[in-house]
Amino acid sequence: MSDASRPQPGSAPRFLIRGGLVHDPANRPDPFLGDIWIEDGRVVEPPADETGFLRVDAEGLVVMPGGVDLHSHVAGPKVNAGRRIGPHLARRLPAAVPTIHATGGLYAALGYTTVFDAAIATGAAAIAHMELDELPILDKGVYLLAADDAAVLDSLAKSDDASTRRLLRDAISGGRGWAVKVANPGGASFWKHGRRGDHHDLDTPLPDHPITPRSILQRLAAAVAAIQLPHPLHVHTANLGLPGNWRTMLETMRTFDGLPAHLAHVQFHSYSGGDLDEDSFGSGVGPLVEWFNAHPSLTLDVGQILFGETVAMTGDAAAAEHLAHATGMPWMSHDLHLEGGCGVLPIAYREKSLVHAWQWAIGLEWFLTADDPWRVVLSTDHPNGAHFTAYPALMRLLGDEPFRREALARIHPAVRSRSPLGQIGREYSLQELCIVTRAAPARIAGLPRKGHLGVGADADICLYRPDPDLSRMFALPARVFKAGLLVAEDGELRAVPRGSTLTAAGTGSFRADAR
């Protein structure tokens, strides 16, 4: 065996990561001191003959699988609009919406090796893939907003399940998608054909189809399960950002009734207030997390906000208009033919804003009261809640209770006094942080070779220096390997390989022939 503390960048050698504290929650419940053997970009069994294996000394380091961002916005026309709508934010380092190349480099330097863009219109899939092909290092995929397609809505309205399955299958195959996303079920119809300013619950019929949002959710989830996509229906439910929308979220969860579904950016859907609640804007997490904890078919990502300036972008045009009207910010919107549309605008989250402070506390409340980290994914809905480079700061908020208490002391006093956050002492362990950033998102996304370090796994591996300051620890991995290549070291890129595009059609489970 050769001794090589630094494998050469740009090649995929056979090597051994030796003596690190390995966090591999998918295979071992507790961290262990051990070795990871790598060959041809995969984790392999310890070889009988160790000749030719380089050795990477990881003694004193923490070893984790590469991060998996299950819900982000990194490519496509609305991301491009986000780059243009805030030139002042583009001049920051990092830019609020980085270039596609910078996105790959920044994610990799952070230890993330897989990312999904969570909202691509089917008609924009070709151009989005053209852009994603230029995303370096990371493996990447897209969720298609097929639920907004006119033909799919027609089939849903006619209860023609066979046609729905066929149309979804065709959309996923043609658009090289990984999953189906619904952004505000039926929302495009309400936006295009309804009265502005009306808010609808899940049982309000669409203005142009004899179907309700609840039926759309039920039938879509069933269809996605039937064609065996790797990831269940990805659900951004109705009334995003509105006071009192916790009721809509609760009804959404009830709707699935045992069907698998992934609830996106739940923070934005967990607000009390409005006409039906006694108090003004606040947290509606309590009843939601109770239901969530009791229903293992559901998974979620949080969509945490962190304070600062960013750009909001969504396939839910009505939500964007509501936010634009409330804030007066420049607002970009584009309606697509026979599909939905999108909305984009800059936004600044401020500690002293009552609403923003509540949003911050509500996201953390979700993280800290959901029982099972295997059903929870760390996300900021980049860039909506915060930039993905803020993930280490979020990890410290979860894993360092005194730090969280200090942060809580700075926010709006009304939230400090009314939020249950101050009474929650839970701290995420490193193993739990590994779950919500790697193991769980990989499992929920349906990536059997990601998020773990067992034999056969992709050699997407991070080495971290242990540090009581979790933000510092996770912001600057000592080394990051992607498919066995050293791609980043102490924040500097060492190699810029091309990642793979993850498509459902490339998996064994997807039933391309489902009828």
Partner: protein, 433 residues
């Protein structure tokens, strides 16, 4: 009368997409002759392309003299390598694949890039950043609008087939033309409301004030005209306001975006912001802007091609300014340039590497350092992708009965390869973050 087609080389013309302008009409009647359903500009472009197709002629010109392609590429590499600062522009002439190859070259040379998008030349900065934009695809406009207001524009002049192809089909769709006397789309039943061109921003402000219930200025007869517009908007289900870009400063654009935004808060509404149309320098202006944005963070006027985020300098690093100020000493242009830039380039004597459509006569830029390379027009090229002005993806089919000349993407890829092999390893741009 269109020139005859070189039938020996052409069995059938599969081209269904017209690349004469950014409308990218994709309904051309395939056959063996110039499609009669194209507009006059499209038919001329199609006929010129066919006439040049397979016709004898030089592959390239160096300083005005015919040359073979390899020698021209060598000379182009020399020009680009020896320049202190290069500008890459004219991107709208190429497919997305060609634009990507040109941007690769720009990154190798740390060149300035100007796609020609209006973001780059508006003196006060991009309108989208100041006011946003509320828009829809053209097909969506056609399906939904029941009130169409042509706001100081006549699309039939800039986009000859726009009204034929995309005017809403709703039975009770109303159309209103707002503007000076000479603006009048040829639409039966279109209501004319005359307002002078100089009053365009004020008219938008007054209609906005009427809709929002704000106080009104004492400006009859503008008030009366605007009251009619506001009343029509009040009575509509879905409002579309069609505009044509002719506003280098951005005040008109800013004012109309605010008006559309106000309407859209009350009822479905959007703007249909048409670009330069047949006056555009190339068919793929939107595609060029898209790639520039995802690579450099800005749609145009990028001071230095850097994939980690180029320096965006609107009104500072646009092609015209860079050439006029002699801030560049070599220009790589993928196609025709707007007349002011063309003139400035001719006057400057700056070295130019130009990709021109086959059949084009190299009358200009015959300076010692000028290289011109003949390429198949996109319509008769190796296929590829373009973006229509409203963002819709349009696929170009490869033209099977191709002439021996390469398309732009192929030329740029060869040029990039030659540059890569001849440049010092340390000379690259595109630093990683």
């Amino acid at each position: 009368m269109t020139p005859p087609v070189a039938q020996s080389a052409v069995q059938a013309l599969p081209a269904r997409v017209c690349t004469a302008c950014p409308m990218l009409c994709d309904d051309l009647t395939p056959g063996t002759d110039v499609p009669q359903n194209a507009c006059e500009t499209g038919r001329k472009a199609f006929a010129a392309g066919l006439a040049a197709h397979g016709a004898p002629g030089a592959e390239a010109w160096i300083a005005g003299s015919p040359s073979g392609l390899p020698a021209a590429l060598d000379r182009a590499v020399d020009c680009l390598r020896s320049a202190r600062r290069v500008l890459v522009t004219g991107l709208a002439a190429a497919t997305m694949e060609g634009v990507a190859a040109a941007c690769d070259i720009a990154e190798l040379l740390a060149a300035a890039v100007d796609s020609g998008h209006p973001d780059g030349f508006r003196a006060t900065g991009p309108t989208i950043a100041r006011a946003g934009e509320v828009t829809a695809s053209w097909d969506e406009f056609q399906d939904r609008a029941d009130l169409v207001i042509f706001w100081f524009c006549d699309p039939s002049r800039s986009h000859p087939r726009f009204l034929e192809r995309h005017l809403p089909r709703k039975r009770h769709c109303r159309t209103i033309s707002v503007g000076p006397d000479e603006i009048a789309p040829s639409i039966p039943g279109c209501r004319r409301i005359r307002i002078s061109q100089s009053a365009a921003p004020e008219a938008a402000r007054v209609v906005h004030a009427m809709l929002a219930g704000h106080g009104l200025p004492d400006r009859e007869p503008l008030i009366a005209a605007c009251r009619e517009i506001a009343a029509a908007i009040h009575g509509a289900v879905c409002v579309a306001i069609v505009t044509v870009l002719d506003d280098p400063v951005g005040i008109d654009a800013w004012s109309i975006v605010h008006l559309v935004r106000t309407i859209a808060h009350e009822r479905p509404a959007f703007q249909i912001p048409l670009g330069a149309g047949i006056a555009a320098a190339g068919p793929n202006a939107s595609g060029a802007a898209a790639i520039s944005t995802w690579r450099y963070g800005a749609a145009a006027a990028v001071a230095r091609a850097d994939r980690s985020g180029g320096r965006f300098r609107p009104a500072e690093s646009d092609a015209l300014r860079l050439i006029e100020r002699r801030e560049v000493d070599c220009v790589l242009t993928l196609g025709p340039l707007p007349a002011p830039i063309d003139a400035a380039l001719a006057e400057s004597g700056i070295a130019a590497v130009r990709l021109v459509d086959e059949g084009a006569i190299p009358a200009q830029f015959q300076t010692a350092a000028a290289v011109q390379i003949a390429c198949r027009p996109a319509q008769f090229g190796e296929g590829g992708t373009m973006l229509r002005e409203d963002g819709r993806t349009v696929l170009l089919e490869p033209f099977s009965a191709a002439s021996g000349r390469p398309g732009r993407a192929a030329v740029l890829q060869r040029l990039g390869h030659l540059l890569t092999t001849r440049l010092e390893p340390a000379a690259g741009g595109g630093k990683s973050p």
